[in-house]
Amino acid sequence: MKLIIGFIVLWPLIGFLFNGLGRHIWSKKVIAYKATGYIVASFIFSILAFLNVQSSGAVTVHYFDFINTTSFKIPFDLRVDALSSLFLLVITGVGSLIHLYSTAYMQEEASHHYARYFAYLNLFVFSMLLLVLGDNYVIMFIGWEGVGLCSYLLIGYWFTNATYNYAAKKAFIMNRIGDLGFLLAIFWLIVKLGSVSYGTVLTAESLAKLSTTDITAITLLLFVGAMGKSAQIPLYTWLPDAMAGPTPVSALIHAATMVTAGIYMITRSNILFSASEFTQHVIAIIGISTALLSATIAIKQNDIKKVLAYSTVSQLGYMFLGLGVGAYSGAVFHVITHAFFKALLFLGAGSVIHAMHHEQDIRKMGGLKSKLPITHITFLIGCIAIAGVPPFSGFFSKDEILAAAFAKSPIYWALGVLGAAMTAFYMFRLYATTFLGQFRGTDEQEHHLHESPFAMTLPLILLAVASAIAGAIGIPELMGGHHWLSHQLIPIVGEPHEASLSHSTEWALMGISVAIAVIALLIAVNKYKRQADGEPLTALGKFLYNKWYVDELYNNAIVQPLNKFAGFLKEVIEKNIIDGAVNGTGKVVQYSARKIRLIQSGQVGYYILFMVLSIIVLFLFWFNDLSILTFFFKLTNKL
């Protein structure tokens, strides 16, 4: 088992080194086969690890000590259990498909850039696997920052484009703000518990050692970390900009895997989070606010990837709502289904962009239904799944979160349903504008329209199947299901809550949310199947189109003032005050030297007088004793 788990992580690393170091050597074919092959290998090993967990439970393996000092120790341990084995399958499974897709999507790149792309992508999978496999918070943090690095490198993959570089930098810096929170939480744990290993920290004994303040502070700090990585208010603005990266990257990193790291982290630490009601409220409120805010923005966006990006932020908000109301397995469920349908939607968008020669504005599309049949049908499945229409996967996971939210507070539920309605609306606005009606692009584009190659459509088809049926892993008992997933997660999050809602309430809630979603999607289809959305005319429309001006707000309220402050330090404090004082001292010395020179009359008597006087002054005021005198006596004696 030690080798198998080790190689799950190592395969992608080998792939990274292979393509990274050999980028000028290998042909594109070799690069593509190797890069995809290593991830598939990792997937196969993940299946083995998963089966092992099913048959004989969780395994922790020790490799070496990362840090081992007299006072403190961080082992390099990896752990495969119910939670991490699920994430393993999603990461390597979806990861394999996206690698396969990329082999065709990135075909236009020169071969050494092609290799660079796959090297980064492999490195990402490596870091992501480390993140979920680590048996302590420090290993998780290593993966956590590692995925941030890869995200940075891939967003800025086309490095000659300044806008992309800014987006990459923004992503890394906003993530770093979150990371600081994460780090402080780790330090807090170390001070209080002397350990960062899950086996020690996440136990009832450790919990008993922590005061309420400790727990609230630690969980809030961890949540700050999650805010950065999983793009929650106020640290979400990097994610839409991250769409600058190649589209498969958006699918893998900025939709299916990396951005769900925050949910993984909180689920992993659920024992801590459940102990702080305050933090749970904060998480639920931020989650639902993020879900609604970004849904409103998505309604008015015209860039196919931007719509999907805001949709991702919004769906992540739902997951945090789930975490906040204690529905950990519901949140994980939504992570899994979302990974399928959102990866599908992004890859579908990529297929459209590919066919449209890098056009991303949906107003210039339309009528692609007949030209891209496979992309169309799979994209439609993705839209239905995310809109929450039964029996597609999104319905089950979203419903589970909403039901738990209702149990906590009907307000959460109502807001959640409102968000679900908006989701259905903007997704079908996107669908109808892109695929229905007349083609609105140039003749040349129309002439070149083509369905994507098999390497791209195969992942679409497989993900569409998964998006359609993945709900099966969590069919609630209400519907006569067994809810495999929540049973699976019992070792991590405990027994599923006794449903405090009556069956009739649950059916009613479900019926309402589905009905609202279906109505919203029909309105959208009807409205946009013939014509695209024009420029926003109303004040509200402009407000949403401009994303609530949050970027502008951050820029004016935070970035610019800090920049000015830095300039003030540099130009005024550093130059004039601190260095000024230093130089001033120098000038005073020079000046007094000129004056004192006058005392140098050349008469030895004066000199001796001054010497004696100054020695006396020195002794009286400074040392206040005579020991130094004895030193000089001894010195003269010896000489």
Binding site: F64, D65, F66, I67, N68, T69, T70, S71, F72, V138, F141, I142, E145, G146, L149, Y152, G156, F159, T160, A162, N165, Y166, K169, F172, I173, R176, I177, D179, L180, L183, L184, F187, W188, I190, V191, L562, N563, F565, A566, L569, K570, I573, E574, I578, D579, A581, V582, N583, G586, W622, F623, N624, D625, S627, I628, T630, F631, K634, L635, L639
Partner: protein, 473 residues
Amino acid sequence: MFLLLFLLIPIVAALLLLFIKSNASSNSVSIGAGILTLIGSIYLLMVNAGDYDTSWLPVLNSRFSLHLDGLSKLLILLTSITFPAIFISTKNNEIANRNIFLSLMMFTQAGLIGVFLASDALLFYFFWELALIPVYFLCSIWGGEKRVAVTFKFFIYTFLGSLFMLIGIIYLYANTADHSFAIDSLKHANISGGQSATVFALFFIAFAIKMPIFPFHTWQPDAYEQSPTAVTMVLSAVMVKMGLYGVIRWLMPLFPAAFLAHSNIVVTLSVIGILYASFIAIRQDDVKRLIAYSSIAHIGLMNAALFAHYQIGVQGALVQLFSHGINVLSLWIIADIIEQQTGTRSMKALGGLAKKQPTLAILLVAFSFANIALPLTNAFVGEFLMFNGLFQFNPWMAALAGVSVVLAAIYTLNMVQKVAYGEISEATNQMQLPNKNAQMVLIVLLVIVFFTGIYPQPLFDLTADTLTQLFVK
């Protein structure tokens, strides 16, 4: 005996260089001597070289005594990596009177090694100045346009600090029972608490200026900018470590009470300095000044971790002394290549390095991420432990200092973006063939970065004895 021989290698090489006129042979001598010291320092890691002790200034009862512990080994290793790395990577730079230049460099190396070995205070002081004086000449002769004024300031400033230390040393000496400069005697000097605090302050000023920490730092960016880059590398990779080394070797053991009594103020000062330097770094356009301010911030963190005085943080600082040296040396080597080949250090004028010289750009990106302490690079280990120590000392201080983690990402990635990315600028377009020697050196350094980042245990093991001495009474 081996220690003495080891110390003599750079001195002999320095003397030899004075008589060699040809550039090629002075390069060979310096690189040869540099590699010889490197081999010697690796040998020192493996064997237990005994102390060396002989009479030196019998009049004053000062002895030429050299002592080697884990920390000394680590810093001597750093010194011995730094010098040959500099010699190799700058060997084709145009330098007038190359042999004199290299000779002075070797004297500096001797002084540095001496500082890290001396266990007699007067001898320590002697080496301390020996390391400084050649640097004075190096900067004022081979430096940039404003070299005279800048070097003068640098010299006066640090020399003033040294004098304070000298007064402190003599004062302690005068109060020892056996009138000796040996560290063990000084430890038991018969002085009151108030006097101890005064002498502590005298030592501290010397070290604070050398590091430098806020607000004693203003000599540094100018000096880094104006010095020939080879000298800047020495200054920031090794020389500033003298200050931190002084704190660990002298300040902590000699004035334990005063040390703890002043920890609050010094940590506060350091944390202010960390943020202050980080903010200023954001606004720099000159690559060298940016690295200089970044370095001030990093040194400030090390100093804060030392004064916070928790074992875990001090351990982090010990490791970071080495790691920071490697990282900042690498950044300077890259900055030097860029300046040599483009004729500018202004980030506005640069850009497109990734297209022009991809290998160099990759190295720049890698070392930049090491500079911001990405996990699995060497700096993460040190910073993680140092922040830990600081957090135990005072969580708010750690949180404040932690802001620099974000600020470091801002200025470092800014630099990466402006230098490496974008279209090829006019200046970048002037770059000729890659400097293969330097790239080879950088690759070796990168291996060290990742090795000690992934498996830092050897560094812990090496410094265990130093740490034990500091914390186990």
